[in-house]
């Protein structure tokens, strides 16, 4: 039985964690704002925290079962952990840091040392001292160190949170390559764009419990999940495929389940797949097919769900279904009233801009 299954309860002061979720292969994102219990939850998975009650099962092996008084200590779990603050050993150089767990993990399977340093681009750093590295370099070394211990599962606790935008951009491609290695990853994040770019499935945490879980495309548009709606980049995440290039206008046409969209010219082959984020603030609605408009991307659909009104907030969200996918639109309550929108109304959504997530 492959995969991770978690169902635990734990109290820490006034905070109460009561969460259950499953994860299989690929990247599963644990999403939520700070204090929602994400880190507590992966500490339980990694064995750094012993929950008061519950079970953790990985690939059929019972790691925690409080009823049977079973607790496998972290060093026997073969679960890699990449911490937010890298936690490199200051008394060792980069090579020794990387090799720290290598001999401790029995077996010869898994990725080779040369492959890992190549993959992460850390060959030039090997003889350097951990203390002399930049934040981005440290995090790459920390990832390599975890990989070389031959993990069955890799936990990543906001590995980009301590980095500035430029360093984040430096690391993200490496994380994508990591995804393609086939090691299941549990990725903690509070940035929806990161989740959309890396994860296949998302588990949304709110106040210590799981508010929603499922494929990223499906969950990201749900209006009933407050943690998703209050995210800065709130919107819908869609999977897209490159359909055609139009170098004359510097555009690429991609196809999503919601319909075709034009995006700035991509250097990717036709047929390549990518993730895009359609932010709720970048969509406008009209009741009729817009004529003589500058909008390039207009998708037909219908209103599926109305979000909650918040006193004092002039805007609210509406979920549309266009083709086989959902889009989220944020519009003023006044427009909503004037257009007389209600579930089932046919609408045309003009998408002003699309954020490419990878």
């Amino acid at each position: 039985m492959r995969g991770l299954s978690v169902a635990v309860e734990h109290r820490q002061g006034a905070f109460r964690l009561e969460a259950a979720f499953e994860a299989e292969g690929g990247v599963t994102a644990l999403f939520g704002r700070s204090g929602s219990g994400k880190t507590t939850l992966i500490n339980v998975v990694g064995g750094l925290l012993r929950p008061e009650r519950g079970r953790v099962v990985l690939d059929g092996e019972m790691l925690v079962d409080t009823e049977a008084r079973r607790f496998v200590p972290p060093h026997r779990r073969r679960i890699g952990y990449v911490f937010q603050e890298s936690r490199l050993f200051p008394h060792l150089d980069v090579r020794a840091n990387l090799l720290f767990g290598r001999r401790l993990a029995r077996g010869t399977d898994g990725i080779s040392f040369d492959d890992v340093v190549d993959l992460l681009g850390i060959v030039p750093l090997l003889a350097r001292h951990a203390a002399g590295l930049s934040g981005g370099e440290r995090q790459r070394v920390a990832i390599g160190r975890a990989l070389l211990a031959r993990p069955r599962l890799l936990l990543m606790d906001e590995p980009l949170a301590a980095l500035d935008v430029a360093r984040k951009a430096e690391i993200l491609p490496f994380l994508e390559r990591l995804r393609d290695l086939g090691i299941p990853i549990l990725y903690v994040s509070h940035a929806l764009s990161e989740v959309g770019r890396l994860a296949d499935r998302i588990v949304v945490m709110e106040d210590g419990h799981v508010a929603a879980a499922g494929p990223v495309d499906e969950v990201s548009a749900r209006l009933d999940v407050a943690a998703l709606r209050s995210a800065r980049e709130a919107g819908a995440i869609l999977t897209a495929r490159v359909e055609a290039h139009d170098p004359g206008f510097a555009l690429t046409q991609v196809v999503t389940e919601a319909g075709p969209l034009y995006v700035p010219l991509l250097e990717r082959p036709v047929g390549a797949s990518l993730r895009i984020l359609v932010s709720a603030r970048d969509v406008t609605l009209s009741l009729y097919p817009p004529k003589g408009t500058s909008a390039l991307n207009v998708l037909a659909g219908h209103v599926a769900e109305m979000g909650a009104e918040v006193a004092g907030d002039p805007t609210m969200e509406v979920r549309l279904v266009c083709g086989g996918a959902s889009l989220v639109v944020r519009l003023t309550r006044r427009s909503l009233a004037e257009m007389d929108l209600h579930p089932g109304t046919s609408v045309y959504a003009a998408v002003k801009s699309v954020a490419l997530l990878d």
Binding site: G47, R77, R87, F89, P90
Partner: protein
């Protein structure tokens, strides 16, 4: 070159170095163990253990020496038993080393405890997730990180041992060549007419040895700091 010290004075210097080094090295493993317990564990009787460890710091050295005599003398509580398996402390240089170890122990444990408390436990957690069991975590992460504290503690204990007088003379007396360390020799020389020159020579040597120990610890600590450069 040896004629500027009398044979007895040479013997006192050699003996002091031997006694201080033995006492310091022998107290290191239990020192690390107890410092680790005090820094990391909660257990019944912890403050009692802490107090007992620190007792030699506040008791008059003569009292500590007398307690050692009661405990480890030939007819002492442990002494009699230890004598049966061939370990004798009373009126031997080993007894002087024991006295030095006991007197230096609080200083050693204090330095070790502080450095263990300063270790970032998140690094130890990281080591555990990489497959290191608790012993491997200690040897490969904790110990290298507390090395500056180990050096500092050992220098303090060694310096204390070089100057230890009251407990030593009470426990193992003042036998030239066997238990007469530098401080006992200086004391003896001040008690006999014409001993001032010898006392002065040994005093100078004491100062040199202490300063050399400090200097060496400084150099070692700098080397470690370079390695840990954080």
């Amino acid at each position: 070159m040896t004629d500027w010290l009398t044979p007895d004075e040479w013997a006192a210097l050699r003996l002091s170095l031997l006694v201080a080094a033995t006492g310091t090295l022998a107290s290191l493993p239990p020192g690390i163990g107890i410092a680790y317990l005090l820094a990391r564990r909660r257990f019944w009787g912890k403050s009692m253990l802490d107090m007992v460890v620190h007792l030699p710091l506040v008791l008059p050295p003569v009292v500590t020496g007398y307690l050692l005599l009661l405990g480890f003398g030939r007819r002492g509580l442990f002494g009699a038993w230890l004598a049966e398996i061939g370990i004798v402390f009373s009126f031997r240089w080993t007894g002087a080393a024991l006295a030095c170890a006991v007197m230096g122990f609080p200083l050693l444990v204090r330095a070790l405890r502080l450095s263990i408390e300063a270790v970032d436990r998140r690094l130890e957690q990281a080591a555990a997730t990489l497959g290191a069991n608790p012993l491997q975590v200690f040897v490969r992460v904790t110990l290298p990180l507390i090395l500056p504290g180990v050096i500092a503690g050992m220098v303090l204990a060694f310096a204390k041992a070089m100057g230890e007088f009251g407990a030593t003379i009470t426990f193992v007396s003042n036998i030239p060549g066997e238990t007469q360390t530098l401080p006992s020799a200086i004391y003896t020389l001040t008690q006999i007419p014409g001993g001032e020159a010898g006392a002065m020579r040994l005093t100078l040597i004491s100062i040199i040895v202490s300063m050399a120990a400090l200097l060496m610890s400084e150099l070692l600590a700098r080397g470690v700091a370079r390695r840990l450069a954080a």
